[in-house]
């Protein structure tokens, strides 16, 4: 059982296209235990109820954005240690700074490829 068979990932993105692209990449990598949410608040509820190892989350979403979700996860101690990778098209210095303060694990730039996605995940959780 390699890590890619056991790792559980939550994908949070309000756009179904992005979700489809992310899940497509994950499947190409060979990760099968993933779930998707289109709303950060709903995702937070799900993660609190049933923890995952890693969250792949879009930055720009209505209601609660990616960093807000990260903050919420980090301040709740049952979820504080969950890995969190932010996916964004605009990694500004400001965003990087806040991300690091909140303990962001990694950042994937849009548009991504399966290779960059895999590399980014591996830098957080180790070889898949």
């Amino acid at each position: 059982m390699s890590l890619r068979d056991t790792i559980r990932i939550m994908i949070v993105d309000d756009m179904s296209v992005s979700r489809a692209l992310i899940t497509q990449s994950l499947e190409e990598i060979g990760i099968t235990k993933y779930q998707t949410e289109n709303d950060a608040k709903a995702a937070l509820g799900k993660i609190v109820a049933a923890p995952v190892h890693l969250v792949l989350c879009d930055m720009n979403m209505p209601g609660m954005n990616g960093l807000e979700l990260l903050h919420a996860l980090r301040t709740n101690k049952t979820t504080a240690r969950i890995g969190f990778i932010l996916i964004t098209g605009q990694p500004t210095p400001e965003l990087l700074r806040i991300g690091q303060e909140l303990g962001l694990n990694n950042l994937i730039r849009k548009p991504f490829t399966t290779a960059t996605m895999k590399a980014s995940i591996e830098r957080v959780v180790g070889p898949l």
Binding site: D14, A20, G63, T78, A80, L96, E101, P111, V125
Partner: protein, 730 residues
């Protein structure tokens, strides 16, 4: 296309563009609302993100500039002047074009995009828009994490326990008595309830299990030790065992040895990052998370609980406020197949009802009742299926505001579009096929309807012209009106043009409404200077044809000095209609019930012969032209004009007129079967249907029948001769 994700992208983009247009519209009117600007920004941002994934570069680079400007507006560093607003709205239009182009695999001309880009840049000043790839060289120092398997609920997983942090907990020793089982309790359910409280590890003690041969199944041999990590109090744990109290040995004690959580090992991956200086700084350990995880305090717990509560409350609020309706995307073919099947069902019902009526020998009341139920059910199903295809006209109306903007820009007039009734639902096909005629009418309204600035100022009207577009339901029809507040129709000029173009004889005397109708004649174009906007040789006749093809009618009303109103009346569905079954010249025809006002059998004294073969009906003090349907369709006409049966119908071209028919058979719902694909467009006949007895009946187009009549009277060259030959061939 073949790429389902790309298809989804375009579908989603369409929705985003809609909300973009909507957002921009409300930004225009109301005060600065940050939430609206945010949603507008997000729409553009999401389109950019998706487009990037599919390497639609033209789209990405334009969306990027657009987004940059919106970002400035959002952060209030850029003031929302009317000029900026105008640029934003036009940019949204251009974005729509780019999406369309991308969808059909075309590329937009560079210079068009360049024009819009420079307009956007002008908003910010030179050089403010960074290149799309400005942040390409960023380097984020990833923070590595130990991944511990997460246990399945109820399953033993010691590592997970460790990873779960430093929760308080209890050790529970549980040994059920025989009475526990006898009372119908089940340890597994108790454990499940415990699992809800936190993470638990269950160890079963099998030591007292006897050899198989000695086993007494009525005596319990098992006991369990449960290590439960939970924030709950002991009372909560005891509550789980409340109902088995006294039926088991139960010892609950605080967890002896809470395993300290392994620390997150931050691996500082420091890289020289040329662009992002922040990332180049040494990465500190994730401070906010680690210390808290190690030493949970009451206040932390409370804060977490409050946060959780807040999230819950927010969620509930959200659900109430803007719970999106669950929808289902279905392949259109499937719906159309269903609609076809329902059409056949209705025909089938009519046939059965007909056969039953013919079986006069035995009359079974029950059967009659069931058939009636069948009819109602079929109608219910049909309405339900039609509702699937129904769409609000909102998206159509939204496109029109763009047309108004473009037309206003091109003509140098100021115009705004006011819409109402956007929620009115119409068949999808109608929405689609109405787009072109409506575009044309809106352009006309701006180009020809509205006066220029000077004329408006002279007549004391506000400089901003208003185009009103509204939709509503009225008695089984959809009414769409386009109204301008311009000068109204210039009838003498219209008549003059028509005469010059030989559309009417030079000596023709036409009533006002007949002059208005001239606008719909092929080859009529009023603008003295042919503008590049609406004077393209396609006139209102094209609009009328499109509307007629949808089974609708168009009419025109004008008040000099106050404006012109076009009204389009459309059937709700294109698949079934209520019709009156009549016989004409031995043929069975169906007349749409929507156009029938009344049926009448007049006294011979009410009929007045005019000239050689014209007849007028005098009714309630008015004279109405009588149209012999049989003759206009080219059927052998029995001369029954002495005591005819008349259908009073309303036609757009002639106002009211009376159709001569031989007899009225029935009034019923008929399924419309288009003839167009097999026979082309047949003037006077809009479609056909299958009657209950299996016969085919043509569906009459009263307007064309009556219109052909006027044509014969005043405009001999339109369709009288050619039309009649066509009827004869039907």
């Amino acid at each position: 296309m073949g790429n389902p994700i790309l298809d989804t992208f375009f579908e989603e983009t369409e929705e985003l563009l809609e909300s973009l247009a909507e957002g921009l519209e409300s930004m225009q009117g109301a005060e600065f609302d940050k939430e609206i600007v945010n949603s507008v920004f997000r729409a553009v941002h999401s389109i950019k993100g998706g487009a990037g994934a599919f390497k639609l570069n033209a789209l990405v680079s334009f969306a990027h500039s657009f987004e940059t400007v919106l970002d400035e507006v959002r952060s209030e560093t850029l003031e929302l002047t009317p000029q900026v607003m105008h640029t934003l709205i036009r940019s949204a239009d251009h974005l729509t074009d780019l999406v369309d182009a991308a969808r059909s695999g075309r590329t937009m001309p560079e210079d068009v995009s360049a024009g819009f880009l420079s307009a956007l840049e002008a908003c910010l000043g030179e050089g403010k828009i960074e290149a799309v790839d400005a942040w390409d060289n960023f380097e984020f120092a990833a923070v590595t994490l130990d991944i511990a398997p997460i246990e399945e609920p109820g399953e033993a997983a010691p590592e997970a326990e460790a990873a779960s942090g430093s929760q308080a907990g209890f050790t529970i020793a549980f040994k059920p008595h025989a009475t526990l089982y006898a009372n119908g309790h089940e340890p597994a359910l108790l454990f499940a309830a415990l699992a809800d409280l936190g993470q638990m590890t269950t160890t079963v003690d099998l030591s007292r299990l006897p050899e198989w041969d000695d086993l007494d199944p009525t005596v319990p041999h098992l006991s369990w030790t449960i290590a439960l990590r939970t924030d709950e109090s002991e009372i909560a744990v005891q509550e789980v065992f409340e109902f088995v109290h006294g039926l088991c040995d139960l010892v609950i004690s605080p967890l002896a040895d809470p395993t300290p959580p392994p620390k997150v090992e931050p691996v500082p991956v420091v890289k020289a990052a040329p662009v992002a200086p922040v990332a180049a700084a040494p990465v500190a350990a994730p401070e906010p998370s680690a210390p808290k995880a190690e030493a949970p305090t009451m206040s932390d717990r409370a804060a977490a609980a409050v946060a959780a509560l807040k999230v819950k409350a927010d969620k509930a609020e959200d659900a109430e406020a803007k719970a999106p309706k669950a929808t289902l995307r279905v392949d259109l073919d499937r719906v159309d197949r269903l609609i076809n099947a329902v059409g056949e069902l209705i025909i089938n019902q009519a046939m059965i009802a007909q056969r039953l009526q013919d079986m006069t020998t035995t009359r079974d009341d029950d059967l009659v009742m069931h058939i009636e139920d069948y009819r109602l059910l079929a109608r219910d199903i049909q309405e339900g299926v039609m509702a699937i295809r129904a769409q609000p006209v909102k998206s159509l109306f939204q496109r029109m505001s763009r047309i108004v903007r473009e037309a206003a820009d091109a003509t140098g007039k100021a115009a705004e579009l006011v819409t109402s009734g956007e929620g009115t639902e119409v068949d999808k096909t109608v929405v689609e096929r109405l787009a072109d005629p409506l575009t044309h009418m809106i352009r006309n309204a701006v180009d020809h309807g509205l006066e220029n600035r000077e004329a408006r100022a002279a007549s004391g009207k506000p400089a901003m012209g208003t185009i009103k577009l509204s939709a509503s339901h009225r008695s089984g029809s959809v009414i769409i009106t386009v109204r301008d507040d311009g000068a109204g129709l210039n009838r003498p000029k219209i008549l003059e043009i028509a005469k010059r173009k030989n559309l009417v004889p030079a000596d023709a005397e036409l009533s006002d409404s007949e002059i208005d109708q001239l606008l719909f004649m092929p080859g009529f174009s009023t603008a003295a200077t042919v503008s590049n906007l609406s004077g393209r040789g396609v006139g209102l006749d094209v609009v009328r044809n499109a509307v007629t093809a949808l089974g609708g009618r168009i009419s025109i009303a004008t008040t000099p000095g106050q404006g012109t109103e076009f009204t389009i009346m459309l059937p709700l569905t294109l698949a079934v209609m209520d019709g009156m079954v009549v016989t004409v010249g031995g043929q069975t025809l169906v007349v749409p019930i929507t156009s029938i006002i009344e049926t009448i059998r007049p006294q011979p004294s009410d009929l007045h012969r005019i000239g050689t073969d014209e007849t007028l009906l005098s009714i309630r003090g008015r004279m109405i032209p009588v149209v012999d349907v049989a003759r206009s369709l080219g059927f052998p006409s029995p001369d029954n004009l002495a005591a005819p049966l008349l259908l009073l119908v309303e036609s757009e071209s002639l106002g009211e007129c009376a159709l001569v028919v031989d007899g009225v058979q029935d009034q019923r719902q008929v399924v419309i079967k288009s003839l167009e694909s097999n026979f082309g467009s047949v003037p006077g006949v809009s479609a056909a249907t299958v009657l209950g007895d299996g016969r085919i009946a043509l569906i009459l187009d009263p307007d064309a029948v009556a219109g052909g009549r006027t044509a014969g009277m005043h405009m001999p060259n339109i369709l009288s001769n050619a039309g009649r030959t066509a009827y004869a061939n039907v």
